[in-house]
Amino acid sequence: MSMLELSGITKSFGAIHALQGVDLTIAEGEAVGLMGDNGAGKSTLMKIIAGNFHPTEGTIRIEGRDVRFDKPIDARNNGIEIVYQDLALCDNLSAAANVFLGREAKKRLGPFTYLDHKAMYSKAAKLFAELKSETRPRDLVRQMSGGQRQAVAIARTRLSDPKLVLMDEPTAAISVRQVAEVLALIKRLKATGHAVILVSHRMPDVFDVCDRVAVLRRGNKVADKHISDTSPEEVTGLITGAIEHA
């Protein structure tokens, strides 16, 4: 049984068909690279999985159960965590505060509950250590490098031990050294049994960390192959349309 199973996903915005009957499955501990040109339907598919909007047609199944997401929080409650392209971090808060944003650790004293800063700092420190990241829980996100910010966004997804982590262009805007850091983070997610969907334009990254690559073109899935059965040249051809189908 696959962890996530999308079948016949179609999304239309008026006359525009962003997605036409896309199927995609992903198993536990598997990383799938989702590739395609701008406008191929990657973001639309991501947003459907993330609960930003409903598909016009098609079903989403998680571990064999039909699910329906009305808002992003529903996806999160079903074990799907998203690392957004802009990371969705609050620059004015500490790394730990960002990791716990929206699900703060609290202590109770009589009728009052209050933020348990100590627990949040130590738990965040543990998450960063697991990711082998040198991010410090008390630092403000404003002062961090691109790689550290990625670590914060990824650490946040691990708070709830999700089944699937969706990453939107995590390596698009950071330096070469930081790309290596982020790819190492993704490998760590896989090693701990998390499924990963990686949306990326960068061919080397996808071939480095993913087990499979799925290619979208004009709202259709034109390929879904094991990494060892394909090559960057073939994938490029599929993205541009030079190769019709594979």
Partner: protein, 337 residues
């Protein structure tokens, strides 16, 4: 690959996870309220030499009472400004809440009913502001500018443009709360102290406070994290209005009368106090102690000019000057961050 990444990373231990970018002292030195406090101390020391009546008990009592109401309103305004919003309607609301309070008590109701009416009026005004801003997504400046006009007008209509100076059966208690003191400190100042402590706790330890700061930092991120952004925003505007309602209750009791002109242009004092106290109009920054300190500095400037024998017509000039200097100071400190 994993072997390589193990080696290339430093050993992560307590020196990293417990590290603070700034020590406590450094973070205090970097905060705006600290420098406002320094400015206050310097002015007090200088003025005590300029005029020996300056540091008398009577002047300290008067000065602290004079700024307390603005400080209370600025505490609420800090929350609004932290969300990158603004509330221009607080001056008019001060008049409206005061008139409602006066009318209810004049009609023979007790002080509890009067207080309740005053606070409910404030809450309703805050609710309208908040709903229009959070759910209808109108600009805070426009919504509260409209409310500035409407609230003042309602105050004029319901007061029939008359002054209210009798407050029914509980008049004595009412005037005591607003006009008297306990242990040598004005009741206004006690309320300010308690509220400042409460806000300090809220900003440091409450989930709500954390969420407000997060919304000010990145509302989209807050939304994606599952924070009920709209509801929190409405509560922020209601809180700001209710701080104003409380100030109205104290001020009317102090003056012993109320007209519908109470609080005209007060919003400018409140916003100035909030900004001097370290709030950033771009949002995401809030200090509980900033509001009272900002209000104190402004009152101190007025008071000092008076004691230094400078024409009162200069007062607004210096308040404005300090406002600009305070923001300039903040920008200089934040450069290179």
């Amino acid at each position: 690959m994993s072997d390589i990444s193990e080696k290339s990373h430093a050993v992560i231990d307590h020196t990293i996870s417990e590290h603070r970018e700034m020590t406590f002292l450094q973070s205090v030195l970097r905060s705006q309220p600290f420098w406002v406090f320094v400015a206050i101390v310097v002015m007090v020391v200088v003025m005590s030499f300029v005029n020996d009546k300056f540091l008398t008990g009577q002047n300290i009592y008067n000065t602290t009472r004079n700024f307390a109401a603005v400080g209370i309103m600025a505490l609420g305004m800090s929350a609004v400004i932290c969300t990158a919003g603004i509330d221009l309607s607080v001056g008019s609301l001060l008049g409206l809440a005061g008139i409602v309070l006066g009318l209810v008590m004049q009609a023979g109701y007790g002080i509890e009913i009067g207080f309740l009416a005053c606070m409910v009026t404030a809450a309703v005004v805050g609710l309208i502001n908040g709903v229009l801003i959070a759910y209808v997504r109108m600009a805070p400046f426009v919504v509260t500018l409209g409310m500035l006009a409407m609230a003042r007008s309602i105050a004029m209509v319901i007061s029939n443009n008359k002054m209210i100076y009798s407050f029914g059966p509980d008049e004595e208690l009412f005037l005591w709360i607003g006009g008297e003191y306990m242990w040598g400190v004005s009741n206004h100042v006690w309320v300010l102290i308690v509220l400042t402590a409460a806000f300090w706790w809220v900003w440091k330890y409450s989930t709500w406070g954390r969420w407000v700061i997060a919304i000010g930092g990145n509302a989209q991120a807050a939304k994606l994290s599952g924070i009920p952004v709209e509801r929190v925003l409405v509560s922020v505007y209601m809180l700001c209005s209710m701080c104003t309602g409380l100030a109205a209750f104290l001020l009317v009791g102090w003056f012993g009368s109320v007209t519908n002109a109470m609080g005209v242009t007060k919003e400018l004092d409140v916003i100035a106090a909030t900004v001097i106290g370290g709030a950033n109009l771009m949002g995401g920054v809030v200090y509980a102690i900033g509001a009272p300190l900002g209000a104190a500095l402004m009152e101190l400037i007025r008071n000092s000019l008076l004691f230094a024998g400078i024409d009162a017509l200069w007062q607004q000039f210096f308040v404005g000057l300090f406002l600009i200097l305070a923001v300039l100071l903040e920008q200089i400190r934040n450069r290179g961050r």
